[in-house]
């Protein structure tokens, strides 16, 4: 483990919806170490996604501060944030968010193009990362021609192609069946081990717990508990060959 990569202190976020004030986050203070696999758990509306957006530089806190690698994100202007997102954050979404008319290779290569490499280099890098996530034989397929699990693999390849410091995965298994979800979790874990990226996932998938170093539970915008791996007790059983908790 070692040094801190993400540090949030007293982060609050209040949205105004009409007359009403919605408190998405009510003072979240959290430190995440480099190379950790952190699962943020909590029911919908608990502020998981809001916290995520803060770390990814997509949203700014109402109060409090978010530091990534010791840099205050609030100090960056929009083009610096774009650079920051491009080079340091890999996003993975519940609904994959691939571009439907682009092939797997193009979907991954476009992220590389955004980082400023040549088109040839981008395709080469994209092919290498896709190979790595087990889709070397699907380079020229459109997202609609592959399964949900494979689409999420393309999305993971896209998130990793710029060698980010942090991968933010918002409910990455939410649209997948149990077995495919587990494969995706294993893949993320493998990437964490091999590439040393910090993985932060928002989830309510209990399967995530087994490979998490830290589990943060959020409830109504506040941290309920932070548990390290060895403090978590999970019993895993199987029904018809499928892992259940």
């Amino acid at each position: 483990m070692g040094d801190t990569i993400v540090s949030a202190s007293g982060v609050t976020k209040t949205y105004t919806m009409g007359e009403e004030q919605v408190h998405a986050l009510r003072g979240v203070t959290l430190e995440i170490a480099r190379g950790e696999y952190v699962s943020i758990m909590g029911p919908s509306g608990s502020g998981k996604s809001t916290f995520f957006n803060m770390v990814g530089g997509l949203d700014t806190p109402t109060e409090g501060e978010v530091f990534v690698e010791g840099r205050r994100l609030a100090d960056l202007d929009s083009s610096q944030l774009a650079w920051f997102r491009c080079h340091n954050i890999g996003f993975i979404f519940q609904s994959f968010n691939l571009i439907g008319t682009m092939t797997a290779l193009e979907n991954v290569a476009i992220a590389r193009l955004f980082a400023g490499v040549s088109p040839e280099q981008a395709r080469e890098d994209a092919a290498r990362v896709l190979e790595r996530v087990g889709l070397g034989h699907r380079l020229d397929h459109l997202p609609s021609q592959v399964s949900g699990g494979q689409q999420q693999r393309i999305a993971i390849a896209r998130a990793l192609v710029n060698e980010p410091l942090i991968v933010l995965a918002d409910e990455p298994t939410g649209n997948l069946d149990l077995k495919t979800g587990e494969e995706i979790i294993n893949l993320l874990n493998e990437m964490k081990q091999n590439l040393g990226v910090t993985v932060i996932t928002a989830t309510h998938d209990m399967k995530m717990l087994s490979c998490s170093d830290t589990v943060v539970r959020l409830r109504s915008g506040a941290i309920e508990s932070v548990q390290a791996k060895d403090e978590i007790e999970i019993t895993v059983g199987t029904i018809d060959g499928e892992t259940v908790m």
């Binding site: 990814g56 610096q80 979404f93 008319t101 193009e106 992220a111 410091l165």
Partner: protein, 222 residues
């Protein structure tokens, strides 16, 4: 592994090239191919009408200039006022104006729909490091392409119909005095007006797209 801490200051994201924007735009056009086609048909018809009017006027003028007795009778038979020099009447100009406006609204509407429909995609691109300027570029290219392609097809169509109708009405006279330079000028004007409409009607959707905040964009349920 690179780290932020090693950098003196976080650089600004570079403006992404038109070439990358074109790749993204083409993907968008392919996805909505039939709707893009329908929008394009609107432009084709409007510009065909415009080109038809302009070319017909040029041809009529050159025919009047011939001042040939038999031809003058023919011209009057087809309702041309040879004493006014063959100018297009007010009513037709108004109709033309309306057509061009309808076509502008058509592109505008289609592109605003494309923006609403692709909010999620815009959000994703922003997550990947696209700046607002890049999003503007992609939508600008997309609607301009529709407009310019539509204008080119429209002016060819308008030219063919104008020449064909004139030939039917006035026979061989048309080719004996075909005002090539004037017709080329008409085509350039049509292309210019078509492109202007396309560019004008793509500005608003492009900015609407760029203003989408990634957070809001990603929150939209499919």
């Amino acid at each position: 592994m690179k780290g932020l801490a090693q950098l003196e200051e976080i650089p600004h994201q570079t403006a992404l090239s038109w070439r990358i924007a074109l790749t993204v735009s083409m993907a968008g056009l392919r996805r909505r191919f039939f709707r893009s086609l329908i929008t394009m048909v609107g432009v084709v018809l409007a510009i065909a009408f415009l080109a038809y009017m302009l070319v017909t006027e040029s041809i009529t003028r050159s025919l009047i200039a011939l001042d040939h007795d038999e031809l003058n009778i023919l011209l009057q038979k087809f309702g041309v006022d040879i004493f006014s020099g063959g100018e297009t009447d007010q009513m037709t100009i108004m109709l033309l104006g309306l057509t061009l406006m309808t076509c502008t609204v058509g592109i505008l509407n289609s592109m605003l729909m494309a923006v609403t429909e692709r909010v999620r995609e815009i959000g994703t691109l922003k997550c990947l490091g696209a700046r607002d300027r890049f999003i503007v570029k992609t939508y600008f290219i997309e609607s301009s392409l529709q407009g310019v392609c539509g204008a080119v097809i429209g002016l060819v169509l308008g030219l063919i119909v104008a020449v064909a109708v004139s030939c039917r009405n006035y026979g061989g006279y048309v080719f004996s005095t075909l005002p090539v330079v004037s017709i080329l000028g008409d085509l350039v004007i049509s292309l210019f007006i078509g492109s202007l409409i396309a560019v004008f009607s793509s500005i608003m959707p492009a900015y609407a797209a760029a203003r989408k905040q990634p957070v809001e964009a990603l929150r939209v349920q499919e």
